[in-house]
């Protein structure tokens, strides 16, 4: 490839990123802090905002660990197991990517809502359990999809070695397998958290948007935007972005030591 065309491609890729990614996100931050910190603080410290902040964290704190445990177990089954229906399971995992979140929300209403298929003694739709279910659904594939290829790549020889040295399957998992896949898990968790706190469509259907009760941060952003409260919407958006950033920073602390090669 010639120097000119290489430079051209590079410029094109960079311009694409700047125009489509950096510019909008950057503008949100610019608009957020345009009128100083006190305005931002005002809009993120209203009772609705604080409630939405804690609800968003609470939902992520339930959904992400659930999906992480499920994801690791499923990845083990996909990478190590030999069973009927494995191809089907492999395909089903991607269902949340294929189905529109709004459809997911509606289907949850059909199953758990009033006159739904399943009648639980506690309220699901328009309440925390429904929001958690929707979030679990949409963020389910990430850990599986990050961990399965890592498991395939590391192979099962070190697990066999551990077995010949007397380790039980449980010991082998905790001492050998888990440390080997921890970066895959960490990356899967980061993506799951980002998806969980950012989910809008499915959650908006099942939450009912009761201010101070079932209003998550993304729903709050939408509500403020609809009410022409742009400063409030920007402030809540910035808060969302900060949570994602904090997760990312936390996970990079798990970086591999160079010596492990």
């Amino acid at each position: 490839m010639s120097r000119a065309s290489r430079l051209g491609l590079r410029t094109l890729a960079l311009a694409y990123l700047v125009v489509l990614l950096l510019l909008p996100v950057g503008l949100v931050f610019y608009r957020t802090f345009e009128h100083g910190l006190s305005a931002v603080w005002y809009w993120i410290s209203t009772p609705e905002a604080i409630s939405a902040f804690w609800l968003t964290l609470e939902v992520a704190a339930i959904a992400v660990p659930l999906n992480t445990a499920f994801g690791v177990i499923t990845a083990l089954a996909l990478a190590r197991g030999r069973f009927r229906g494995k191809a089907l399971l492999d395909t089903l995992i991607d269902l949340p990517f294929a189905v529109s979140p709004i459809v997911i929300g509606l289907s949850l209403v059909l199953v758990y809502g009033r006159d739904g298929w399943i009648d639980l003694p506690f309220q699901v739709i328009f309440s925390l359990p429904g929001i958690v279910l929707a979030t679990v659904f949409v963020s389910l594939p990430f850990v599986v999809r990050e961990v399965t290829p890592v498991l395939r790549e590391i192979g099962d020889e070190s697990e066999q070695a551990a077995a010949t040295l007397g380790a039980s399957a449980w010991q082998s998992f905790w001492r050998i397998t888990l440390p080997a896949i921890r970066y895959g898990i960490a990356y899967g968790v980061v993506l799951s958290v980002a998806r969980a706190i950012g989910e809008f469509g499915a959650v908006s259907v099942v939450s009912g948007k009761i201010a101070g009760q079932t209003m998550t941060l993304t729903l709050l952003v939408e509500q403020r935007f609809d009410n022409y409260n742009l400063a409030g919407a920007y402030a809540a958006s910035a808060l969302l972005a900060l949570i994602a950033l904090a997760t990312l920073l936390l996970m990079t602390r798990l970086k591999p030591r160079r010596s492990e090669g």
Binding site: E157, S158, Q160, A161, A162, A163, T164, L165, G166, A167, S168, Q171, R175, I176, P179, A180, R257, S259, E260, G261
Partner: protein, 317 residues
């Protein structure tokens, strides 16, 4: 003693092991030798408990362990690609089995230090496997396997991933180690020279069947069939007979039983000289001479010679 009796194993339609029985006496080093796909690794993995046979039994020290898990067989296993625990230091790798057995920390430390000395890795205890060479990693894996004082040491192509010179060095070292430690050892290899150099006894496998069992010399001198003869060393075909190239002699004059041939090429390999000749009856033959023998014959390409076998030819080609 390890005994495997009438082992049969299929992977799908493929018969990997077909009624295989072997015995490994206490304290001996036995090599399972064969080409890839001969079933040698599967046999080793069945002895280890990493595979289950379709039928047949495995006995270690007289006890039937066919349905015992690898954890409880009292074995040490070394893999071709080391199977190092990459996130652990060399010390933790070697001490892993002892830690699982809940040995006291000072006991583990002392035992690991002792083993690191045996395998020549003293001073490397706090490194990680990624910082070691292939040969060092394999010695670490060996120390790890020996740490739990296994009744049986099983090695699956342990030098297969190493450079030729490291391989030879490590193989000689392993033999010396075996003479010191005397743990009953089974080694899988596809390299006949490695098997001959290291093993007390060799089991030759092909297509899931045992072809011959015996000490290296016996297999070389009295192979049971054409496959074993070809697999254990170079062969020439003289007419329809298989012979070792060093069991052929050349003479310039006709001799009883000799076949006429024309020298095509002479290759000087130092002490050894290889003469490639074309038989008058058709076909080519390779003859291995010493330098003195070749000098005496004053051979040149194009000469007519007479080829004769000194040892009785064993098999039809």
């Amino acid at each position: 003693m390890i005994a495997a009796t009438a082992l049969t194993k299929r992977f799908g339609d493929f018969l990997v092991l077909d009624d295989v029985s072997i015995e490994v006496p206490d304290g001996s080093l036995v090599a399972l030798l064969g080409p890839s796909g001969s079933g040698k690794s599967t046999l080793l993995r069945i002895i280890a408990g990493l595979e289950t046979p379709d039928s047949g039994a495995v006995l270690i020290g007289g006890a039937d362990v066919t349905h015992v898990t690898p954890q409880k067989r009292g074995i040490g296993f070394v893999f071709q690609h080391y199977a190092a625990f990459k996130h652990m230091s060399v010390r933790d790798n070697v001490g892993f089995g002892l830690k699982i057995r809940r040995e006291r920390k000072d006991v583990i430390r002392a035992r690991v230090d002792e083993l690191l000395e045996v395998v020549g890795l003293t001073g490397w205890a706090d490194r990680y496997p990624g910082q070691l060479s292939g040969g060092q990693r394999q010695r670490m894996a060996l120390a790890r396997a020996l740490a739990v004082q296994p009744k049986v040491l099983l090695l699956d192509e342990p030098f297969g991933a190493l450079d030729a010179n490291v391989r030879q060095e490590l193989r000689d070292w392993l033999r010396r180690l075996h003479d010191e430690v005397h743990v009953t050892t089974v080694l899988v290899t596809h390299d006949q020279e490695e098997a001959m150099a290291i093993a007390d006894r060799i089991v030759v496998l092909e297509r899931g069947r045992i072809q011959q069992v015996g000490p290296p010399r016996e297999l070389y001198d009295a192979p049971a069939n054409a496959f074993v003869m070809k697999f254990l060393g170079p062969v020439s075909s003289l007419g329809s007979q298989l012979v070792r190239p060093h069991d052929l002699v050349l003479s310039s004059d006709a001799q009883p039983g000799a076949i006429e041939a024309q020298v095509a090429r002479i290759v000087y390999l130092g002490f050894e000289v290889r003469v490639e000749a074309e038989l008058a009856s058709g076909g080519a033959v390779s003859v291995q001479l010493t330098k003195a023998e070749a000098d005496e014959l004053e051979l040149a390409a194009g000469d007519i010679v007479h080829v004769r076998a000194t040892a009785t030819p064993a098999f039809s080609a």
